[in-house]
Symmetry: C2
Subunit: 226 residues, 2 copies
């Protein structure tokens, strides 16, 4: 019963799609890249998913060792990426980069979870980062704390506060999406939608620099490739 609508083609791409090509699969993994999540967290982060589908997907993804179900000592069950599941990072990065070129749907559903930005943002920062960039700051998005870490071209962004952030910033989800889509210029973003709550102002500037580089790197070159 586990394999119904599979390609069964001798090709690694087809195998990858057999594993994570079903509806919601990749979006579930995307949210888990922000850190472990409960059933309800995923449900609110994935507007429109039916509970039975979410349950089915979680079982399937656990079966192929991409995620695992964990019972905490408080009796709370959370889902988390396995090391194997964490390797979907680059795949999601590419998906994110590819997706930015399409216009947002005119009637998008309102999102109440900010987990979505974890991979998107990390992908952006990684595009803008160079080998000697180092940055660790906490970004509060609509009140939710996220910890951003940049170590050269290795970037990460996880739900939760930082341990020793260089700075603590605050912004909104909408502003972040707007700047990511290119609708809002980075300087307007920093002036009107980004506030330094605590720490080093220089860290904020370096954070913005990565944004600018990511955006110019995106819209600038690479048009006549092939």
């Amino acid at each position: 019963m586990a394999s119904a609508r599979r390609y069964k083609i001798l090709c690694p791409i087809a195998r990858a799609l057999d594993a994570v090509g079903d509806r919601w699969d990749l979006l579930i993994l995307r949210d888990l890249h922000a850190g472990p999540a409960r059933f309800k967290d995923l449900q609110t982060g994935l507007p429109g998913i039916a509970t039975n589908l979410l349950a089915d997907r979680l079982v399937k993804l656990a079966d192929i060792d991409l995620i695992e179900k964990i019972e905490t000592q408080l009796g709370v069950t959370v889902y988390a990426l396995t090391p194997r599941g964490a390797k979907t990072r680059n795949l999601l990065f590419e998906l994110s980069q590819f997706g930015t070129q399409f216009p947002p749907d005119p009637d998008v559903k309102p999102t109440t979870s900010y987990r979505t930005v974890a991979v998107t943002m990390a992908a952006m920062l990684e595009r803008g980062a160079t080998a000697d960039d180092r940055l660790r700051l906490q970004l509060n998005i609509g009140g939710e704390p996220y910890c951003i870490t940049v170590r050269g071209t290795q970037t990460a962004m996880a739900l939760g506060p930082c341990e020793n952030p260089e700075a603590v910033l605050s912004t909104t989800y909408d502003a972040l999406l707007a700047v990511g889509d290119g609708a809002l210029p980075p300087d307007a973003f920093s002036r009107e939608h980004l506030t330094l709550i605590d720490g080093d102002p220089d860290a904020l500037q370096r954070f913005l620099t990565l944004f600018v580089r990511a955006l110019t790197h995106l819209g600038g070159a690479e048009d006549g490739e092939d």
Copy 2:
């Protein structure tokens, strides 16, 4: 009617999946990375696809400017990647790399087209290539000629013969898949399943070197990431 089961979530990953997340989408793009193809070519390269689905997908992918329908002067209609569609390359690379870790399905469908290897192989070679690698050779897979080009870490593999190949090699589809899956060691591959038809034996060696590097790069490090 064009947008029925879409996510409509404000997230580039969801937008990417709304564009190319439907069944067969990415496999069609994969085959087109080997060069323009006719309806029938795609049909044989995608065992199991229904003709109406293939027709639907081709229209949809053309609508969002990833592929285009071309009428040649001989009245033959072919489908080809647009510049925008060619940018699915890295995405397919990541998908291919991610897919290699899953075991092949026990009852895979027999494939009569070798277009599938175009992206897979290019992805492998690109993983193994370093900045100063240069290679241009023709590889006949089960009689079908493919032209492999390596310029540093930019690699390509297209259906059709090379113009000025350094060498012309011949192998089989099964052997190629076996070595790509790690089931067949590269030295056994070269001894038993790879023949130099014409040209420089050194080019064959450099070709193998890229294979070995790609395989060790894959299975060697990167286990404890995150």
